[in-house]
Symmetry: C2
Subunit: 347 residues, 2 copies
């Protein structure tokens, strides 16, 4: 793993190591805002409270006795590929590997919300992690905060999972043991780790991690407005060749990677080996799985001419969304899904 | 005037110069985010558009022909007294003089909104100034923005004035000529200068100047949430003596200042001359005028004992709100209304 930050741990998968559709736990990127919280699993309970008919506490054993569900979900950090932005922006300098695809087992959030009974006037569900600390840069709330973020009630009742297993094994501490949320289709900051409390609320929750942080700007009549980050944007990434790789001339080179979107299937991935002048269709491999990335590959007949080459991949999804070729600066330091140039050298 | 920033001009009234209830234009603080915009008054029109029955444009002459209204309103910059904060926070380092009270003449915002006819689904009114520029610090929108901010429709239809005169004379360029909003009871950032466009909207407008900037934090279940700055907080300020003044022992010293609140009358101002150990009632002078500050004074029999003394003033309003003695750090760099220590020396 590439260490992007030592404490708290922010670890990136070297994306060139992409192999199967499922990312092994040991290779799955770790994004931490604060140190891994100390949790006594025997005393631990998930609290469901707020605008509910009956507040409830659930132990890990009680959750494990409820009907389990297993889903695949690709989770990408909202700041993945930040390293490509010029001028440089603040934040963890991820290259390509702050994304992974795993199998998650747990209980649908809907099940526990139905157990507690949401008030008819409820509009959002706040997921609160146990990880906590102080925020350095103003504008910021004073003192210690817990990492927390809300979902619209509709999404909470749809496909969000409270997961206690990742790839068939209990969550590891850095992935949120004993319990985390998995919010399919959304950027990773929504999938709260070390989940401790679920608060149903009748008021939109404008917490730090969905206002000053994890937000972007959208143009409206009257000027740009702050918009909370939610759905992952359609994106293909090249795993191999990797940045600055030396490619032999006049041979065949396997170009491959992964592509994902939100709420739609990947319908094609195109590849350019000439910096965007021309595009060729790649082959999608494996099966299409909802909320999971799709692997793709291409056999490139490398040119005889020596010199630098820029490779670009471009995904299209079944909703007709196409990965943009240029960056929208209003997205600040997040949602980096424009076609990313991989510079190689034919030599 | 104290120059806090030269370009754009940010000018503070030396608050010790406080005399009558009305602040002369030449002494009224100037808060600029961008340079004074160049406006050709003959071509200038106020646009009212968005979720309205009939978009309209009004020239300055047309506005002047509408039934005028004159109100007094105290306007305080949301960052007034920032100089008192420790540790130091970012922003213009105002001491006491980023506040003033003037007579404003113009047309009620309600009148022009009724002329255009707000849609029944409208919820907010965006006021857009002509001042513009780029914002330096992330998170920020890309490119140029106009200074703009929204009001709930209820407030817009209540007492907001579109003012073309200040203290009986046309607005000066630095105070928003040809037209500005005056939002009684709210901090100054709401009283948009160089007003050019009014947009009625069906969606809450979360612009830069009411999200990343001009916001504070409030504790809720689930953690602190971002809250837009609105109403001025109850506050008394000491004009004289001023900071570090030398006071003769065993004499009488006139202590005086101003006090204001939002949506309520000032009912008392107390003074402490011993750093908050004991408090004495001051005399409110003049008349109580809605949305305007109230002057107060006190005759202090200065002690025979030489040495430093800390003076504090504390206001209470008719809604029962009392100026706090300590600072709430969740307010960040705004809403600084705790009792401000004025350190003097008896010598």
């Amino acid at each position: 793993m590439i260490i992007r930050e030592k404490e708290p741990a922010n670890l990136e998968m070297p994306f060139a190591q992409l192999e199967g559709a499922i990312t092994p736990v040991a290779q799955f990127y770790v994004r931490s805002h604060f140190p891994v919280p100390q949790i006594d699993t025997r005393a631990w309970q998930l609290k469901i409270e707020g605008a509910v008919g009956r507040p409830i506490d659930l132990s890990l054993d009680e959750l494990r006795l409820m009907p389990p569900k297993t889903i695949q979900a690709t989770i990408e950090c909202a700041g993945n590929s930040r390293l490509f932005l010029l001028p440089k922006v603040k934040g963890v300098q991820w290259e390509l590997g702050a994304v992974g695809n795993a199998e998650w087992t747990g209980v649908p959030l809907r099940t526990v919300l139905e157990k507690a009974g949401c008030a008819t006037w409820a509009c959002e569900v706040i997921l609160e992690g146990a990880d906590h600390g102080t925020i350095a840069e103003p504008p910021r709330p004073a003192g210690e905060v817990l990492f927390a973020r809300s979902l619209p009630l509709e999404k909470a009742m749809d496909d969000v999972l409270l997961a206690y297993e990742m790839n068939g094994a209990p969550l590891t501490p850095s992935h949120g043991y004993p319990l985390r949320a998995v919010v399919p289709g959304w950027y990773g900051m929504a999938s709260i780790k070390w989940l401790g409390r679920i608060i149903v609320t009748a008021e939109p929750f404008l917490g730090y991690y969905q206002s000053v942080d994890y937000a972007s700007w959208e143009q409206r009549d009257g000027g740009p407005v702050l918009v909370q980050l939610r759905e992952m944007q359609v994106k293909a990434q090249i795993a191999q060749p990797s940045m600055h790789e030396i490619i032999p001339p006049g041979e065949t080179c396997r170009v491959h990677g992964a592509a994902w979107s939100s709420g739609a299937e990947i319908t094609k991935v195109e590849l350019s080996t000439d910096g965007g002048e021309s595009w060729q269709l790649t082959t999608l491999t494996g099966e299409s799985v909802a909320n999971a990335w799709r692997l793709w590959e291409f056999t490139w007949k490398t040119p005889a001419a020596l010199g630098p080459r820029t490779l670009l991949a471009r995904a299209t999804d079944s909703a007709g969304r196409i990965q943009p070729e240029t960056r929208d600066a209003n997205r600040g330091s997040y949602m980096i899904n424009h076609c990313l140039p991989i510079e190689v050298e034919v030599r």
